[in-house]
């Protein structure tokens, strides 16, 4: 009887504990991440002018594809692009930079791109079925010969990339373009456009705040 009681208590306690397991992230912006990095050999303080395109491009794959043949990529919608670019310009100006035309010999060029990815869960542990068929062992896995299975559920994540390019080094005719500052804003691309825009704008402010070397 005593053993039964203790066993019952043990199991009951397990149930109670699993009920109060910490929850972690609760809101979409809890998952926002701002990454910045820069070239320590580049002298930011001596550069003051920048040029920036008036569009934000959408990255659709590793390699540039141009299905409609106009030599241009896909662009982010003008309202969202303006919200992002305005925020970047505002931060650049308040850090002491001056925007100039791309033909007016800018010191740096700021390029903005976005990418969204749909992440799907289709994998689960093989051993979920270990109870069913005699001779099925843990440690095995799945494979789908020659095709991908349908997905069960998923979420969309998105990133905004900001690259600051040394414009003078490009002019010198090098084959590779030196990116002297890069910034990735990453998070869930879920919720309405206006809430995403607000989050992206907040993250742009944070990116500049954590990059004090950009300030003049």
């Amino acid at each position: 009887m005593a053993i039964k009681l203790t066993r019952l208590l043990g199991i009951l306690s397990l149930v109670l504990i699993s009920g109060c397991y910490p929850k972690g992230a609760e809101f979409i912006d809890d998952l926002d991440l701002v990454y910045t990095n820069y070239s320590s050999s580049f002298d930011f303080s001596s550069k003051t002018t920048y040029a920036i395109p008036d569009s934000v491009i959408k990255i659709t794959g590793d390699i540039f594809s141009d299905p409609d043949g106009d030599h241009k990529p896909s662009f982010l919608g003008p309202a969202s692009a303006a919200a992002i670019l305005d925020k970047i310009n505002q931060n650049m100006v308040s850090n002491g930079w001056t925007e100039v035309n791309k033909f007016s010999n800018p010191d740096v060029i700021v390029l903005v791109s976005t990418v969204t990815t749909t992440n799907v869960y289709w994998y689960y542990d093989w051993w979920y079925w270990g109870w069913y068929y005699p001779g099925w062992y843990p440690g095995w896995g799945w494979y789908y010969p020659g095709y991908y299975p349908p997905y069960v559920t998923g979420y969309k994540s998105g990133s905004v990339f900001i690259q600051m390019v040394d414009a003078k080094a490009v002019a010198a005719g090098t084959e590779n373009v030196p990116v002297i500052w890069s910034c990735i804003l990453n998070g869930l691309a879920e919720g309405g456009t206006s809430s995403i825009t607000t989050r992206v704008q907040g993250m742009i402010d944070k990116a500049f705040a954590q990059s004090p070397y950009l300030k003049h």
């Binding site: 208590l9 910490p22 991440l33 990095n37």
Partner: protein, 201 residues
Amino acid sequence: MRSMKKIFVLLIAAICLQKSFAQHHSVFILSYPIAFPMGDLGDYIDKQSFRGINLEWGKEIKPNLIVSLETGWNVFYKDVPEQVYTEGTASFSGKQFRYTNSVPIIVGAKWVLKSSNNLVPYAGLGLGTMYSDRSTDFGLYRISTDAWQFCVRPELGITFKSRNGPAAMLGVKYYSSFNSSDLDGQSFLTVNIGVVFPYGL
């Protein structure tokens, strides 16, 4: 999820093991630990844990000596408000959600100071292993490390005997595990409040 499964299996195994201890003069101690992280664990999560359980099976091999098998589960958690982390030229900012699950499995001995009144103090020392599973959620990413580490666990406590049936206990246990390749040694102190069930008497 895998580690949860592992922990669950371990606890069930430990519960089943009590059968082998279910002979004469045995005790089962069920206690609720409040854990205070220290050392490397304290640097990572500087917040006490109210999530935990501790189970112990003991057998009296001499009038004042009990050998015991102990296991438990302590969940440490802290959400770190958004801040900037800088490494070299790279900076990251975001919120972090930090978790550590600790499951000690300890074989120990308790020396009991028999006294005429109902308060019975004891001191113990245990050796065994501690499984630690550390996960940091940062943005959409999770960084996880787990390790089985050698663990030492001294303890002090007192039991309040009742005439018949279970006794109450209050004790302090200190768990200190040793560095392994994946993770520095983890240590924490628990204050345990529990019940001692004698059986097989």
